[in-house]
């Protein structure tokens, strides 16, 4: 018998190594299901998943939807342009309305950090954070860890570089918490404007030079340049970013033999990653997409029925 012992997955921060491994091991079982002709199991038959997306997302929403459907749940997609939210309904009223439909899971993405936590406090349903502001994106970190485990087989002492806009990246934060907990040796490779204050407390090495930062690493995790979050003048120009920080074949060659390249998508080809790298044999970017479904199935499965009394 197994369970995460938590009602909601709001972030990686606070998860133990054991809990992370439970998700990864369970996801391996679900990945087998995705390879079959009949890619569906009755594990969560009769449950309802509510995808509540306040920020545009195609990949994450599709991945959660597919994961939920593969587990035989009913899925409802609810996104901002079609909701009453724009008509002035408060978030709390929206949640109460959703609750009244009798949903078991709420998958939430929001541009403000902390919204999933607020919903979790006010709902009986299990809440899964699908990205909140610049805080966390836990399922992305878990699918990245799953992919690394498949490719490399271990984490202890594995050299991993996270390259790009750490400051605005919830993916980076969740990955730092996750990979640190699993014992990897983490490096941040980024221009100073993209490195958050207090980075020292994360227990990572910081490199302000891509050529040095990528030397001998086993895994390169590229981050997307988030053009929608660059109003503060953090980034001079895409061209300049590409020249100093973009992952080229030459930079990839500085990494260790057999290093893998990851990217959470969507990619800006020619900016943070060059096409010849993205399409090379070192790239595991498309496998990340497949693994995302398996990992999200595992999360939904392991949160089910671990109902604790709600703390309202």
């Amino acid at each position: 018998m197994s369970s995460l012992g938590i009602k909601d997955l709001l972030g990686i921060k606070g998860l133990s190594r054991k809990q992370i491994y439970l998700v990864l091991d369970t996801a391996a079982g679900f990945k087998d299901v995705l390879k079959r002709d009949i890619k569906k199991v009755p594990a969560l038959r009769g449950k309802t998943v509510f995808n509540l997306f306040f920020e545009p997302s195609t990949r994450t929403r599709t991945s959660f939807e597919l994961a939920a459907k593969r587990l035989s749940t009913d899925v409802i997609n609810f996104s901002v342009p079609t909701s009453s939210f724009v008509k002035g309904e408060s978030l709390l009223d929206t949640i109460r309305t959703i609750e009244s439909y009798g949903v078991d899971y709420i998958v939430i993405r929001h541009s403000s950090s902390g919204v999933p936590h607020f919903i979790a406090r006010h709902s009986h349903a299990s809440v899964v954070n699908a990205g909140d502001g610049i805080n966390e994106h836990p399922t992305q970190a878990l699918l990245d860890a799953f992919t690394i485990k498949e490719k490399k087989g271990y984490f202890e002492g594995l050299k991993i570089a996270i390259v790009g806009d750490i400051l605005h990246s919830r993916v980076a934060k969740s990955n730092i918490y996750c990979l640190r907990e699993l014992g990897a040796e983490l490096r941040i490779v980024a221009p100073p404007t993209f490195v958050p204050h207090g980075i020292d407390s994360f227990g990572v090495e910081v490199y302000f030079d891509a050529d040095k930062g990528l030397k001998d690493v086993d895994v390169i995790m590229m981050l997307r340049i988030q053009n929608e979050r660059q109003e503060g003048g953090f980034l001079p120009s895409s061209d300049e970013y590409s020249r100093f920080w973009g992952l080229t074949e030459e930079r990839l060659a500085r990494a260790s033999q057999g290093a893998v390249v990851m990217h959470p998508g969507p990619m800006n080809r020619g900016v943070e990653i060059m096409s010849e790298v993205a399409d090379s044999t070192s790239s595991v970017i498309l496998e990340q997409v497949t693994n995302g479904v398996a990992v999200r199935m595992a999360v939904l499965y392991l949160l089910n029925r671990t109902r604790v009394t709600k703390h309202v």
Binding site: G29, V33, R36, K40, R305
Partner: protein
């Protein structure tokens, strides 16, 4: 109470007899595939395959089936059953699948296993082999091959320990539920 029902020799004999019965009933093993239910059933499936090879001089394919995703009590317990690997590296379409488990009890695991098999393919037939049948069926299911029938009470537990798990081969009857 902690009573030994079968020792190593008893288990070996039961498995040898079941292997003969499987071969006899199916007139050879040409179309036969063995699939054990995780985890105890997988070990017994491998042993059956070993004995069948000794008798027939022919390999029989063995697979492992995880039924956790197909159980009928998911969501009724506080914890979920652990997900283990399903590994069936062969085609089961038009084959006779012998489903193998260590203990047959309520029959609910076998119901789940049959659903899991149907999602992998469409076997010609499914037959059931168990090391122990302890009674108390809750579904209309019976085994085709039984190592030993053991009448039990609901307050007892049948414990199958196998050397593959780092224990010695023994089947025990224990008083009180796990």
């Amino acid at each position: 109470m902690n009573k030994v029902l079968l020792d190593k020799k008893d288990i070996d004999r039961a498995i040898t007899r079941m292997a003969h019965e499987i071969i006899e009933k199916n007139r050879g093993i040409e179309d036969v595939r063995l699939i054990g239910i995780q985890r105890g059933g997988v070990y017994i499936a491998k042993r059956l395959a070993g004995v069948i090879k000794e008798i027939e001089g022919q390999e029989v394919s063995v697979g492992a089936l995880d039924i956790a995703m197909y159980r009928d009590d998911i969501g009724m317990r506080d914890e979920q059953p652990a997900i283990r690997k399903t590994d069936v590296p062969f085609d089961i379409n038009h084959k006779v699948v012998i489903l193998i488990d260590d203990v047959l009890f309520t029959g609910r695991s076998i119901r789940a296993a049959m659903d899991a098999l149907m999602d992998i393919g469409r076997p010609l037939a499914i037959q059931l082999a168990v090391l122990i049948d302890r009674g108390h069926r809750e579904l209309p299911i019976r085994a085709d091959y039984v190592g030993k029938n053991i009448p039990t009470s609901m307050q007892e537990t049948v414990d199958v320990e196998l050397s593959e798990e780092g224990k010695k081969d023994v089947v025990r009857l224990k008083r009180g539920l796990e």
